[in-house]
Symmetry: C2
Subunit: 296 residues, 2 copies
């Protein structure tokens, strides 16, 4: 089966409860709604089965992890097959005792686990203590062939790295999907909130532009954590086209299913008019693999 040149993409922006089963029900309902509205590729938020547990370093939270394949990929795979759609999910993966990953999974329209991406860039900032939980991924930045064509899934903090987007695009991805859990520190929101959200959207739109690919970010909503602190996840899930034009953007506080058409004819047109990939200076990029170029 050859991939369609045009398909509908669905984003499930959701609130995440403490009950993993309830979160799976919410995700399932969202996926069913997206499929009913014509989506053939649907993406969930990062770690959608749990609260964002990385707000604290707590060894007991490793109990939330599960293997891949495992219960979540089984459930999403069944749903993908039933609906004949591609589902991109996110799993707190237990790979071995003491080796856990923040993993994106691609369930193809036949229900098979088509691909797995282990978050490569791991943040560590106040209330985002991910380096405690997640071993940095060893997958690189692959693209996977699915019923809707070649797609890549990256995760949250990866959003800030042009290298990840570039490598996924060079691997042939037409769509970059970013399951995400990003929010405001409530105490910072008034002063910095708009700037932070603008930077987050801008850097991802730039991945679309620089690479001529569709980009979608799928975030959770709602406040989690201490009543006088915690994190307010900012939603604002969005899709932009291969020239960075925002096609749809969800609200900042409500659960929402967003569906948008992706058309590879648009990608072809953009890449013909703005042929950035043609002129890359691959002979001169070696320094990208250095930490800094400070050795004179």
């Amino acid at each position: 089966m050859s991939a369609p040149p045009r398909f509908r993409l669905g984003l499930i922006q959701m609130r995440c409860a403490t009950d993993a089963e309830a979160n799976l029900r919410t995700a399932t309902a969202g996926i069913r709604e997206a499929a009913a509205r014509g989506a053939r590729l649907v993406c969930l938020p990062e770690l959608f089965r749990t609260r964002y547990f990385c707000q604290a370093e707590d060894a007991a939270a490793f109990d939330l992890a599960e293997p891949v394949p495992g219960p979540t990929t089984d459930a999403l795979g069944r749903l993908a097959r039933e609906l004949a759609i591609v589902v991109v999910g996110s799993v707190f993966e237990r790979r071995a005792a003491g080796v856990h990953h923040n993993t994106a999974v691609v369930l193809d329209a036949d229900g098979a686990l088509r691909g797995l991406y282990r978050k490569m860039h791991i943040p560590d900032d106040p209330l985002y203590y991910e380096k405690y939980y997640f071993t940095p991924g060893d997958t690189g930045f692959p693209a996977f062939d699915t019923a809707v064509g070649r797609v890549a899934a990256l995760v949250c903090w990866d959003q800030w790295y042009p290298e990840g987007a570039r490598l996924a695009a060079l691997a042939g991805a037409n769509v970059l999907l970013y399951p995400t859990a990003i929010g405001w520190h409530p105490s910072e929101k008034a002063e910095h909130g708009e700037t932070q959200l603008a930077a987050w959207q801008t850097v991802q739109r730039a991945h679309a532009i620089a690479n001529g690919v569709y980009v979608a970010a799928v975030n959770r909503v709602g406040h989690e954590g201490a009543a006088d602190g915690g994190l307010e996840f900012w939603g604002a899930s969005f899709v932009c086209d291969p020239f960075g034009v925002v096609l749809a953007e969800a609200s900042r506080a409500a659960e929402e299913v967003v569906v948008v058409d992706c058309d590879l004819a648009r990608q072809e047109d953009v890449r013909r008019s703005w042929p950035f990939l043609r002129d890359r200076r691959i002979d001169a990029y070696g320094g990208i693999t250095k930490r800094l170029l400070d050795d004179g």
Copy 2:
């Protein structure tokens, strides 16, 4: 002399006439105005001494080229020394018979030619026939120590490449300056003009965000070329801070001198709060030096 942690940056958005001497006078007046308004680093547009001759492939246009060092760097160096400022200019460089470059030059506050950057990414699109004129640069993406600290100059089409911005930032640049000549095809402006300008600004703001550096683009204004075609250079020269916040943006049609304060304390603050450089996966970026990753 240690570089100041805070300095004022000036952008000279100008119209370019057919007379090279007139263009130097316009540039000089702009630089003097910027300096009088406190600028200690001033940047000119790409190829400011001429009309944008790349609208046609004409062997006679090579007569417009000059050596580096040469008349333009001499004139800008004298001005830089007199005003005790750093000037970033742009030269159509004749390096040898048959080897020409689109070159950015950095004149330090003592008048010395501190650095030279030869445009690495060369476009070739209708009315931007640069591959005919410019040999791709062999400088890489260096940063130069100047009286205002470490800066990098890149040129126009480079704006669309995250790799160039990243490498200049890794080399220690705090400010990326992009002398530019970009405009609309008049026939496309109504339909695509806003989207094109938005993409151009977005991708550069993303360089600032991803790298925690100031970014400035300096463009020309005015229509050049055939009355029923040609190019309408869109101005819109701008500066953004290390989190992508646009600090100033010039008009789209008028000559304008823009001055903006750059503060390395802001850079320090942004890089502490959003430590992207900390988490780069330099072990996994080797594929960046490939054309595509399509060999399975």
